[in-house]
Symmetry: C2
Subunit: 400 residues, 2 copies
């Protein structure tokens, strides 16, 4: 049996690892890198995505070519069709292991991606991943209510964690996950991919630069018409809730990253047809309003019976709009500043949102930085989600 | 002195009038008109604007060329620059009198529109309009808090009334105005011009025909960046309130005419910087949420510090959007039904929204029909406006 990595080692990947390519054994230049050498790419992917003005500038570039190994846990559509193909464009990330409860999926995707049987795990054998030094990061892409346990198990196995949104089904679970990763000395990042998407980065930049003047309104709608009533998203034990947990969270997260503020008050209004077989357990529509400390406001749609994916941020000087805004592809932006509304092409980003997201965590590990969307970011959303549910249930404004 | 028209005469214009062109003295064919002769124009301007399915079909065509006389009361920008030039395109309406507190305005616009001095009134001499048989209708375009008194005085003078929105500054005032017109046997219509605008008529038609499936969300934003802090809109005694009374009412009214339903619950959230000299007395932003009996929802923006004028109605099958939606001109529509969003040109209307609005009241008088936006429509909005203010003030959902 291999020696388990010490939990006290804050940067385990810096130790030489058996079987890793030689270049992975070189300690990346954490110190002594002149600021002038910080790559524009890294800065854009991290600093601007979070709002440059509010981020420390000490983000260091990871050594080119250094790749950390990801295990994908949960082989559903998003994992297999959206995320896994994107490792091909990654600079610091590679797919090295798979975890699934379905042996056929392990075989199919294992063969497709050249993952040896030794690196394929069931949920029962998953904890043995502790002994696999090729795996640096476990990316948890399961139904929501399983995020906590797999994050805890991954951290216990000495792995860093990427966890899909929503981070968990309760704020309490988020706190437990943060604590587990902290205790294990491992990093935790939430899969808020839009923070790495060019149009969204541009919108944040415009707002932060004051192009619109102080933000007055964010109007953002996220929803889709959900189908199969038997899917896990409509099973409250697995999803933790309906549209808000799944798609409305994009409206919520966007309102926060666009304003760069945390709400102080929340209103909400639910509309669910409980006679609809899809909505026996979870909500359909739950629209909500946010008030921010600056006086900025947000009107947000969250729906399982309407297709929408957009936002517009408006200030006294104009507005910026993306529609679709947080989709997998096809983002389209318009800006109105003085003249008539006009299309705007954002500054190009070196990577697509998926590869940039995967690499961001790798780079954070390689350079010992905190992800711009760490566990605290997921926790903030879950606290607000709980407040939104409460506001709708109690029919009153919840002050935060 | 002329004989005052009897209040019991429900259709005073049907009596021959001195000095009126001969064709105006002919009683229009109120009965005996075959349904097949109902003009498509009249049907579109009335039936479809209100949602054909919910309107009685007994709307009769007014005799072509028959024109009723309007007095414009209040010679501000909207009256003189937007409304008055539009009589030129009217079929059943003509400008015959002016009422203003400013002698220079009476002179300037009187000369411009060929209104003799005998047909120019100050607010002091206004009540003498009872003796002017050329005036059938008084169009009240004053600051909001004066709507009630001038409507009451016009009705008392035996005139029909067109009143700008908001109908008044309280639901109680609206009720008094309705009662005054009813007592005088005169018609009362509120200036909801968008109901006569081609894109809005098309959107209502699409929704009513079920093109989107059942409406799930209406997202509508109305606001502008207000300037001069000394204007009456920012004086609560004159305006009755801030953005909601003035521009947010478009969001409210649109949510109602698009769904064709009346809300059963209201949420609201206000954001006003009271240190801003413009907002000493009235609110800036007051966003609100509506819940309709069918389960349709609305997220609405009302703002005095952001420019926006749009709505999107979404159902399971797609959406229809107008942006700008309720502006004086320039409406632009997109529809998403199955495929990608596509621009849509609405069915052309024979008149612009202003002329159609003016003629609608004339036609209703000529054919003894009720306007599709009568006093009850204005009252419904004011009741909701009061509920919205209350929801924001008390921080709770108001059930209606």
């Amino acid at each position: 049996m291999r020696v388990r990595r010490g939990r006290q080692d804050p940067i385990p990947h810096l130790q030489p690892r058996r079987g890793a390519p030689a270049h992975q054994d070189v300690r990346p230049g954490l110190t002594g890198v002149p600021m002038s050498e910080i790559s524009k790419r890294t800065f854009l992917a991290t600093g601007l995505a979070a709002g440059a003005a509010t981020l420390p500038l000490g983000v260091m570039a990871a050594e080119p070519g250094r790749k950390l190994g990801y295990a994908i846990l949960g082989l559903g559509y998003y994992a297999t069709q959206i995320i896994m193909p994107r490792f091909a464009e990654c600079e610091h990330s590679r797919l090295v292991a798979l975890v699934s409860g379905t042996p056929e999926k392990l075989k199919t995707f294992g063969e497709q991606y050249g993952i040896p049987e030794s690196h394929r795990y069931s949920y029962e054998t998953f904890d043995r991943i502790v002994d696999n030094p090729d795996v640096d990061i476990v990316y948890v892409i399961t139904p929501n209510s399983l995020h906590r346990t797999f994050t805890e198990r991954a951290a216990k196995a000495g792995k860093h964690v990427m966890c899909e949104k929503p981070m968990a089904t309760s704020a309490a679970d988020c706190q437990a996950m943060i604590a587990a990763c902290k205790k294990a000395g491992r990093k935790l990042m939430i899969g808020y991919r839009s923070r790495f998407q060019a149009h969204n980065i541009e919108a944040i930049k415009l707002v932060r630069e004051g192009a619109l003047g102080p933000v007055r309104t964010v109007v953002t709608d996220h929803g889709f018409t959900i189908g199969d009533p038997k899917q896990w998203r409509l099973n409250k034990a697995l999803s933790g809730g309906g549209s808000l947990m799944d798609i409305g969270i994009y409206s919520l997260n966007a309102a926060r990253y666009l304003t760069g503020e945390e709400p102080v008050a929340v209103n909400a209004m639910e509309s669910t047809d409980r006679s609809d077989i899809r909505f026996k357990e979870v909500e359909d529509i739950i629209n909500f309003q946010l008030l921010f400390p600056s006086g900025a406001t947000a009107n947000c749609v969250s729906a399982y019976s309407a297709n929408c994916n957009r936002y517009r941020v408006t200030g006294p000087k104009g507005w910026v709009e993306i529609d679709p805004a947080t989709s997998y592809r096809g983002q389209s932006m318009r800006v109105q500043l003085g003249g008539p509304p006009a299309p705007r092409e954002p500054a190009p980003q070196p990577k697509n949102q998926f590869s940039a997201q995967l690499d961001h965590l790798s780079e954070c590990i390689l350079t010992n930085q905190e992800p711009i969307v760490g566990g605290e970011e997921g926790l903030k959303d879950l606290r607000l989600i709980e407040a939104i549910y409460r506001a709708a249930r109690e029919g009153r404004t919840i002050r935060l």
